[in-house]
């Protein structure tokens, strides 16, 4: 018991203990968050290299760098690793783990051991997928039947890996929901919760409701290949479109599992650097839940050209447009928060502003694809690729980089070089747009996705896109180096470098093992900037 009193007087940062066991056996949400952060960053860089290789092949019209089959493998690995190992666990597992208990004033998540178990399951899934690389699949990340049931590449192992990963996602979501319900500090009412918490809550609901369905779908695909089950095989009376229905019933909500946490990050960064209370708190909070709800009703918009009925297509098209409403609510509220604010262009803020700009382009081009007539023309072209990357990189990855720069001092207790961070941001912003904006034009002109070769008339736009990928890759490279350099020789970070009001900034950097010396009593929301107390 003597230790008990000591622990309450002496500040022991959570990073204090050293040694590999203090990491792999930890139940501390902050350390588990770091392990996720390292893992997802690793997979982000690996899958990013696959993307650079693809773009290099596309520099010239002929397939002169890799064989078409290798190209198919490259886009499959790029897509499935980016989606399932980086962006789906992504912000939710890394920053969600680090921030949720700190932001709600709790000592940890509700089930710390389960939390560690989720991470091990994530690693197990990753290990299975790495084994699958011996004979990598060439199906695309969507694993569409009937091709995925017949190709002689290793579909079983990679889908098994994704299936295992799904459990990690489910258990993390479950842990976060219970944590947010049961572990809030006294006075931390629902309407005082930081918006990142609302976003994490909506994300966790999606993880819980959608992931089991993709789990069973992938299991069915595995039995299709191993036991000869024929649910998706027309020759046995099955229906390949059923796979698409099942797959997108998960994978469309999964799109929001990827983006909603990033929206939460933006809602935290903007008021701090605009020095204004967030505009439309409740609208932003409930629009997260609104997006989560509508996301379950739109899956068939991926299948307008798959032979679904006209009535179904019309209804799904209409429902798809509905998603624009809660999304636009967020964008308008962020913009209104900026209005007449005293804006400080910190690197995290630059990423947040890039998010608003790029995500808006991504969102609006989504409406083109949701419109039936336009989609017949644009389906499976580079327009889709460009749209998706504007949402996923322009949205989620900008949010992820923003979060990295924003919470870096808190998490690691060090500062990075702000000037280099801004230069890296500039390269990333320019590189991203040079890579993906030309792809809208390619798509409208009819260039289909997933081909290693293309007609010569597309060469100028295609090579422009490839040059852009180099600028983007270079920017990410500088950013990574800068953040790593900060860990080694960065200045010590103060407790609250931006004068932020939310709870995580009221503890030392890095936070103590137990988060709070005493559980705080919350008396107000965390967005009261620019007002006298």
């Amino acid at each position: 018991m003597a230790n008990h009193t000591i622990a309450h007087n002496v500040y022991v940062p959570f990073l204090e203990k050293k040694g590999i066991l203090s990491w792999i056996l930890t139940t501390d949400h902050k350390r588990i968050g770091i392990m996720y952060l390292i893992s997802i960053s690793f997979f982000f860089l690996v899958a990013g290299v696959f993307a650079l290789l693809m773009r290099y092949e596309l520099l010239t019209p002929a397939s002169d760098f890799v064989q078409p089959h290798t190209y198919n493998v490259l886009f499959t690995l790029h897509g499935s690793i980016m989606v399932f190992f980086f962006i789906v666990p992504g912000l939710a597992a890394s920053f969600g783990n680090f921030l949720i208990p700190l932001m709600i004033g709790a000592p940890d998540v509700a089930f710390p051991k389960l939390n560690l178990g989720s991470y091990w399951i994530y690693l197990l899934g990753a290990a299975i997928v790495l084994i699958a690389l011996a004979k990598p699949a060439d199906t695309g990340w969507t694993f569409y039947t009937p091709y995925s049931a017949t190709t002689d590449t290793d579909v079983v192992l990679i889908t098994l890996g994704v299936f295992v990963l799904g459990f990690s996602s489910i258990l993390t979501g479950l842990n976060f929901i219970v944590t947010i319900h049961k572990m809030r500090a006294p006075g931390m009412t629902w309407h005082r919760l930081p918006l990142f918490i609302w976003a994490s809550y909506a994300t966790a609901i999606l993880q819980l409701l959608a992931t089991p369905v993709v789990g069973i779908t992938l299991l069915l695909l595995i039995t299709e290949r191993t036991l000869g089950v024929g649910f998706f095989d027309p020759a046995k009376g099955g229906d390949p479109v059923l796979f698409q229905n099942f797959f997108w019933f998960y994978s469309h909500p999964a799109v929001y599992i990827m983006i909603i946490p990033a929206m939460g990050v933006i809602s935290e960064i903007i008021p701090v650097f605009a020095r204004k209370p967030i505009f439309g708190y409740k609208a932003i909070a409930y629009s997260s839940l609104g997006i989560a709800f509508i996301s379950f009703l739109v899956w068939a918009h991926h299948m307008f050209t798959s032979g679904i009925s006209d009535i179904a297509a019309t209804i799904f098209s209409f429902l798809t447009f509905l998603v624009a409403i809660p999304t636009a609510i967020k964008v308008f509220n962020w913009t209104a928060t900026l209005y007449k604010g005293s804006i400080h262009l910190h690197s995290a803020m630059l990423y947040a502003l890039a998010f608003i700009f790029l995500f808006t382009i991504g969102g609006l081009t989504g409406l083109f694809l949701g419109a039936l007539a336009a989609d017949i023309h644009l389906h499976d072209t580079y327009f889709v690729v460009a749209h998706m990357h504007y949402v996923m990189i322009g949205g989620t990855v900008m949010g992820f980089f923003g979060a990295l720069h924003f919470w870096y001092p808190k998490w690691f207790g060090r500062m990075f070089n702000e000037t280099v961070a801004k230069i890296a941001w500039l390269f990333i912003f320019i590189g991203f747009n040079v890579t993906f904006f030309p792809q809208f034009f390619l798509g409208v002109q009819g260039m289909p996705r997933r081909y290693a070769t293309y007609p010569p008339q597309f060469e100028s736009l295609m090579s422009l896109s490839t040059y852009g990928s180099w600028i983007l890759g270079f920017g990410i490279f500088i950013m990574t180096l800068n953040l790593i350099a900060g860990l080694i020789n960065g200045e010590k970070a103060p407790q609250n470098p931006y004068g932020s009001l939310s709870l995580e900034w009221q503890v030392p950097s890095p936070p103590p093992l137990e988060n709070f010396e005493e559980i705080p009593h919350v008396t107000d929301w965390s967005y009261g900037y620019g007002k006298k107390k």
Partner: protein
């Protein structure tokens, strides 16, 4: 020592009342995901039944209704003993709880034995998961359920040992209650599978 006790306090400083309600909420959420996992198969069942009503009618008679009915009774009875076990530990009766959990485990094993004979009879008649859509559904749905029976039995065995060791009392019965919830789900899913596969013509 210092490190050990900090690490120890780190995992266990939750208020018991909060821990109880958290565990229950967590398990209910998990059961929801289990329903959704089976939901994919139930959806496939509905779609293919609507598409091939004759196949479902002709092939469901191959299933052994008696064995299915026996298994249904076994599982419902095991749910009863599980519920009685939870009630017993809430009143602090550790021995009674242990016996009731043991009976529940035996019922689960009995279910497995009956299922084993059912599956072997099917294989004996050269009926496999790839025989038809109906039998694909039969094997996958009952197989996935069987997997859940095994998981449930593992949980129950752990609970049985811990009960014997006296880990649970009237004040602390959370694991028994939460494990019980899981077992009821295993029972509940079977109660849907039995009529869908064996009875409806």
């Amino acid at each position: 020592m210092g490190d050990a006790s900090t690490e120890h306090s780190h995992g266990h400083h939750m208020d018991p009342a909060v821990e109880y309600s958290s565990s229950k909420l967590g398990m209910w959420l998990f059961l929801g995901t289990e329903i959704l996992l089976f939901g994919g198969l139930f959806a496939a069942y509905a779609i293919f039944r609507a598409k091939y009503p004759e196949m479902f009618f002709e092939q469901h008679v191959e299933l052994n209704k008696k064995m299915g009915a026996v298994n249904t009774c076994i599982l419902i009875f095991s749910s009863l003993t599980m519920a009685m076990g939870v009630s017993a530990i809430q009143r602090g009766k550790q021995k009674v709880t242990a016996i009731l959990i043991l009976i529940t485990i035996l019922c689960g094993l009995g279910f497995g034995v009956v299922k084993y004979f059912e599956y072997s009879a099917k294989f004996h008649h050269h009926i496999y998961p790839d025989t038809s859509i109906f039998f694909s559904l039969y094997f996958l749905m009952t197989g996935l359920h069987m997997l859940h029976v095994f998981i449930g039995l593992t949980i129950l065995s752990v609970l049985f040992v811990l009960t014997l060791k006296g880990k649970f009392t009237a004040k602390y019965s959370t694991p028994v209650e939460v494990g019980g919830l899981y077992w009821h789900l295993v029972d509940l899913i079977w109660i849907y599978l039995f009529p869908l596969l064996y009875l409806i013509g």
